[in-house]
Symmetry: C2
Subunit: 334 residues, 2 copies
Amino acid sequence: MDSQRIKPKKVVCIGGGTGTFVVLKGLKNYSYKLNAVVSMSDSGGSNKRIRDEFGLLPTSDIRQCFVALADENGGMGLMRKLFMYRFEKGNGLTGMTFGNLFMAALSDIVGSQEEAIRQTGKVLRINGNVIPVSFTNTNLYAQYEDGHIVTEEHLIDEPEHDGKLKITKLYLEPKATANPHAIKSIKEADAIIMGPGDLFTSLLPNIVVDGIAKAIEESKAKKIYVLNLMTKYGQTYNFTANDHVKTLMSYIKIKPDVVIVNNTKFIPEIVEKYEEMNEFPIKDDLIEKDYADVVREDIVSEQIVEKSSSDKLVRSLIRHDSEKLAKVLSEIIG
Amino acid sequence: MDSQRIKPKKVVCIGGGTGTFVVLKGLKNYSYKLNAVVSMSDSGGSNKRIRDEFGLLPTSDIRQCFVALADENGGMGLMRKLFMYRFEKGNGLTGMTFGNLFMAALSDIVGSQEEAIRQTGKVLRINGNVIPVSFTNTNLYAQYEDGHIVTEEHLIDEPEHDGKLKITKLYLEPKATANPHAIKSIKEADAIIMGPGDLFTSLLPNIVVDGIAKAIEESKAKKIYVLNLMTKYGQTYNFTANDHVKTLMSYIKIKPDVVIVNNTKFIPEIVEKYEEMNEFPIKDDLIEKDYADVVREDIVSEQIVEKSSSDKLVRSLIRHDSEKLAKVLSEIIG
């Protein structure tokens, strides 16, 4: 027996969207004890139906985390593919994801959505835990600089108003209570990874849950913020790197220990495509001494991913690279 | 190395409905090489939607066989439960079974329904093979003694006409070609088990597929017919045991080697419930010498199963007992 044996470090990823997917997919190959704290305020498409017709909380973000952490070996690759599958046929089925239906059926069988989520992790033999940030049935609200208020996550994500407007306040109504497992995992973590991902619809919807910001502030973990690659119309229009960090710091009252920024240039043709949608590469105006550390690395995927209607996961052309990002993160976490 | 090692006997069960479920569930605990040859002409409910909206062949009978043969240990019990699950919520989802949606999604992912069925068996770690009798997109037709013809399996099963009418001819239109794997499994079998189950909507829909009757006739296997317990209104109204065997023998041109008949009495209160639906215990008028063997045993489940709308499997009150029937079968098969 080796009493000096090193315990695996506890790493918590906070988010829920494609960005968290990329982080988890990369880090699952390292020997960390991985926990994903995932937002539960999605409201679009499949989620809306899970909420309205099944009376359950939305599970699309959870589904993505499961796919990221799922065992890909042997027959399990197929279950993983099924979990990503979106029905394109069937009256009333088109647009529904298999993964969400799987969790809805399981919730009915085992009696609660919380237990269903736990069991789903077992079925997919995930390497880590997927922890819903809250089980409160709540809605996300955003107030903009002109004073108007928008509710429902998908309308914040894809605004029907002028997307250049700044969000001045993000909150949940009714107030959401944090899942005790989320609080515990944050408090006990050696490292907390925030982002990448949509600031106002993936990362901050976790942090505005009662108790989560406080847990992050009090945690002794190394707090790492992975900056996005592009601004997002409707959320972070014209935001520089500094704007991102300042916004995050207005929701948690401490500085992150490390900010990870990409330092490679993008292919002009792809940048042009983004510009058509009013989205731009984030300008790196971070000043080293403002934070404990700014890590600048090539963390961009070389792969050019075409858009597809059948899989929400492949909708960006400029994306973080799972392996590159995981390598940088592992060097920071140790 | 032991060259005298006994190879497991090859057993083929032909059918598809609840009766086949009971046989498979019992026999999976024996060391046989089990093959289920399953009808593909279901047309009601979930099946109709799988046919019309997904352009796939109906899979409800296959689903039941998967559930019967599925690994029930460890985490697998949950997958088995999911496979039985029928949605009771969700616009356009109510009445759909999870198992059928699973196979529909998988058919799209792997490119064919045949491959999807094979892969499903792997995911559920079934003990045996589930072999669709045919991949021809066909419909079941029944002609009655008054000359009128009904199409679609569910209208034969639950007739809108006088259910006392005898079916004089059962056929598929267009003609269905047998799945070569079904033919092979029947030809190589040591034992073929036909029934129990609805004669005209579970057992015979397999036998009217081109090539299946001939394969049974030519097979050197011991042919075992497990008689039903009750007559069925619309199919076998007033049929005696002898009527059942004679009907089967009009579709396969040989006698079965063994007929298994239940010899216990039923609880009068339950029989009365059946009588209200014009269904009666089958009168045993079999004469020993007419067949190679008539085996009379207690093969009835003591369990009284209440009806439930959520699970097609538990709709009979008088049912065969999996374990008792498997024991009797194993003594015959050897």
